[in-house]
Symmetry: D2
Subunit: 336 residues, 4 copies
């Protein structure tokens, strides 16, 4: 039985605690939060779980195998460091850290201590993302051409974080998981409409090796909620609408081919459009967090390195850092 202490019981914490409790081989024995309301809510739902207000009480608890840190990103580094120093495996909310330097320090510390780090890139445990990865890995859409993501909605404005740091960790971690190519450089644009510095609308373009391009649209001022990703390959294309009740994923058998053109015919474009049907696979419905914690337990018990480890967390933080730099320099291309 993996015994887990949870630090932070705000918006996302209750989901974390409930899912760990429902995971076979895992249990939450202590939760830390300074908020009185959180304390009451926890007592009602999980009367057997101990509540503390001082995180140190979690770190020194010898019965714990792992600590889950579900707090705002600004506090991640200090808490995660203490967790690792106290010999506990680490589960940490996304984004992993505020800076890539912090991430590297934590990765090194965990390696020295023989501890595991898992970053909560929840989306990569959804049925939809797993299905897409499997299709792409098996060559189902040919060679990759582009990744085009739109994640927009009204609010919720975050304090001290812009729209990229709020919404981007989802998309960057999904793309990092799905796309097996190396990003080379990034450009970001954005604007803030209110008397605050943090952008509420932003666009990010990432250039990859092999002529692959990724683009992300983030917007806190959209009247509608959109969660669309389009992924192009040389033979097929994928459309993923995460808000669709059914048919979340559609695979289009459509492609473009260029013929060889002789010198004399140079003024003619020999383009061949192949347009066939569309297939929408059945996506198993399972709560991603449940799958993620089963995997967390499995990795700890078998001393396996999870794919959403500190390195994956670091790669996402590096992209976020690069967007900061680019956006401050008018969209300047930042090498990765």
């Amino acid at each position: 039985m993996i015994n887990i202490g949870v630090i932070g019981y705000g918006y996302w914490g209750p989901n974390i605690v409930r899912n760990i409790m429902e995971t076979e081989g895992a249990s939450v024995s202590v939760v830390c939060d300074k908020n009185e309301e959180a304390y009451q809510h926890l007592k009602k739902l999980h009367p057997a779980v101990k509540c503390v207000v001082d995180a140190e009480q979690v770190f020194i608890d010898d019965h714990l195998d792992a600590i889950a840190i579900i707090t705002p990103v600004s506090s991640h580094y200090a808490l995660a460091r203490r967790a690792l120093e106290s010999g506990k495996h680490l589960f940490v909310e996304k984004p992993f850290t505020k800076t890539s330097q912090q991430a590297k320090t934590l990765i090194k510390l965990a390696r020295e201590k023989g501890l595991l780090i898992m970053v909560d890139h929840t989306f990569v445990f959804t049925g939809a993302v797993k299905e897409i990865k499997q299709i792409i890995d098996s060559g189902g859409i040919g060679e990759l051409s582009y990744y085009d993501s739109t994640r927009v909605n009204l609010g919720l404005f975050q304090h001290d974080v812009n729209v990229i740091w709020d919404l981007g960790p989802h998309d960057f971690s999904i793309m990092d998981y799905i796309v097996p190519l190396k990003p080379l450089a990034l450009s970001a644009h954005g604007i803030s409409h209110y008397e605050r510095e943090d952008e509420d609308i932003a666009y990010v373009t990432i250039y990859f090796e092999e002529k692959f391009i990724a683009h992300f649209s983030f917007n806190w001022l959209s009247p509608v909620k959109i969660r669309d990703v389009m992924i192009g390959g040389t033979t097929k294309k994928i459309l993923w609408n995460d808000l669709a009740i059914d048919e979340k994923i559609k695979i289009y058998d459509k492609s473009v081919h260029f013929g060889k053109v002789s010198a004399e015919q140079r003024c003619e474009l020999l383009v061949d459009y192949r347009v066939n049907g569309m297939y929408s696979p059945k996506i198993p419905q399972a709560e991603a967090l449940a799958s993620e914690f089963a995997y967390f337990v499995e990795c700890i018990e078998n001393s396996r390195t999870p794919f959403n480890d500190g390195e994956a967390g670091l790669r996402v933080v590096q992209l976020l850092e690069a967007t900061d730099r680019s956006i401050k320099n008018g969209g300047e291309l930042v090498n990765l």
Copy 2:
């Protein structure tokens, strides 16, 4: 009766000829095209119209009041210049010219000759765009915050023109018509996936005065056709789906307001989200080209300057030129 000669009877030419023929007070008496098939098609549909293969026969025709140039952009300047020199009013396909210098020369020439230039920004004559302009001009969505456009589909790859020059003139001319603010600078990103230089996917961001931002997504490799524009205002937002059969335009009564925060409360975000209903106005269904040619006739007869004149054409060409410069310099911000 405004007598019009048409040069170019390819993909778009037949629509032009048909619409002029159906316009009260206008008529086509001569069409120029070198293609034998075009000739046959024209003879069948419009047996009374004269067909010529040499454009010069159109320019010297004393019975013509105006000449419509419906050819690829590379030939616009030379043909338009001859048309103006020969004393004819000018209707020219979009984009106006290949370079802003050419556009300026034509504008100057027309002014000297007392002739009218109309650039075929067809979309600004649709019921949807007219409705949106009216809503915005009357303050219906408050102060403008953003313009976010997606125009993607599979193909059609154009020869010697990238996806921005192909699809962008539509969106830039719509935005230019709707948005009463001044663009300051532009950044463009794109990539070409085939053995040709012209980009098949591209993204353009335009910064305006008054914290207004515009963004455009162009893609010739999309499996689906999308024609979406989202326009944000401080009080309401507009969603325009031009492919919707009904309810092309939706106006959302949703907005975000920030409260005043005292120094002590700085760590609290006082955000107020106002979320009310959505209204979709009835859009009159009328062919845009018919409306455009009625306006063309009206402007000639009353010596009025059309809003889609050479200056409007020039502004669109300046944006296109700027995307070329930016895209060649890795998305560099280009001042407008």
Copy 3:
């Protein structure tokens, strides 16, 4: 504090218990179910609630003010009768009873005992249905013309109940709540595709006074889930898609008017189609069951008769009974 005993803790029971527990002024002190698994589930979520296997223990419990019966319809009458006889207010799952005679007996018994009956017509407590009723009651769509409902999905086949008795209570109770007109006669058609007698596809037409017509489509063999209701009025029409995330309700300002035609013009149809915009109001999102139990408490405390009382339950059962009779006689029109 209204103290409630719950009989039946299967598919729907847990929602009932959770919602009562979250209702101010109400509490569940005892739950009866014979199933061991239900027992475990209840203990985990509500450790303070007493579990019994014999319903009689609930009936004789003097601390209870009311009893909620959440069992299959075949057991409703016997259990409800005992609940009323033991002096408890009654909350009962829909459909109220198997026969209208049973319903009448229970209504009479409750009246004699001064007890309240509430039938769980949950849908009439949703934001969407409340909004629709308010629009119609305020004359917002003119005089009513028709009600057209589609409720289809794949399965779930019910044991000993056909598709009308499974899905119909939702729609009949909604229509009964919304439509202020008197139904006159009913016709039902259906078919069973498997080796069982109960229909898996059925259609019901109800004729009302004032030329109002209602039609219901039920289907357990549909590949997709549909929850659509269209309501026509003389001036406007409502479209309610209960599966839409946003814009569940759309109100169309469209209508048809006939002109007066003189004898000579009889061959001419003077029809005037008024087609204006569409409005989609904001629907408050609240759990219907929570609202229903708050109302249950309010009705008990203030000795008020709920609108979803035994009479409302009876009217729904009468429609269900009539569909049985009609379907067995080849769709014969059954007077109501």
Copy 4:
């Protein structure tokens, strides 16, 4: 070259004439209409076609091989009879005739004269219907279970014809073409909301052999236009949305299977739901009328009997007649 005379140049006539003119091997040499406006319109588009006001001039024209009758249904019989008597093949608008007796007389006459009758069931020539027929004929959805059709919109109210006679010929002819089973009996319900007798909303249920059921929803008072057909088979289901721009047809790999249940387990429903993905085939886009006239020419030249012959027309008229009888008797089941 098949020379065709067209009688009736109203709403649908121009499409007929244009499509015949574009059909290889066919031509229109004369059109008959009493309306002056129709005459002008025809002269402008087809200057070489002769216009007459007296239908007799068409019948006696020795140069004609066939006559197309594109007039209201009330005039079909008399005109079609004269056409056949004058030795011309017959193309006639749907519905074939006002009564099945008229249809039988025409069929007999044509057989005696060795002439061909084709009824304009245009929809069976669309890519979507052809695709569906091919899927079903090849066993692609298993044995047929149901056909559920919705054809609703605002207006257009027809003079002297109810909504079934207006919209039903489309759906009855499609179903007749697709479904290889024999209809046994029919029930129809409907209502008229205005001071006219003809129903503006109607529902039709048809019982077939082999437990197959079909249902049709017709409505002239709907605020939205819907063209949906759902076809159920034992292994798969088809959803056809004729208004969809792409993905008109979706084939769902979903089915329900019942297990064998022993006597003791009778209270348990052993239902197995198989739920897999969805496939949407590419539908070739071609104008149905063009395909229909090519087939008309082919049938005449090769003396073949078209599948949309007088017998097909008769079967549709028989269904329409049965709806009249049923609707007048309160939805009484009418044997077919």
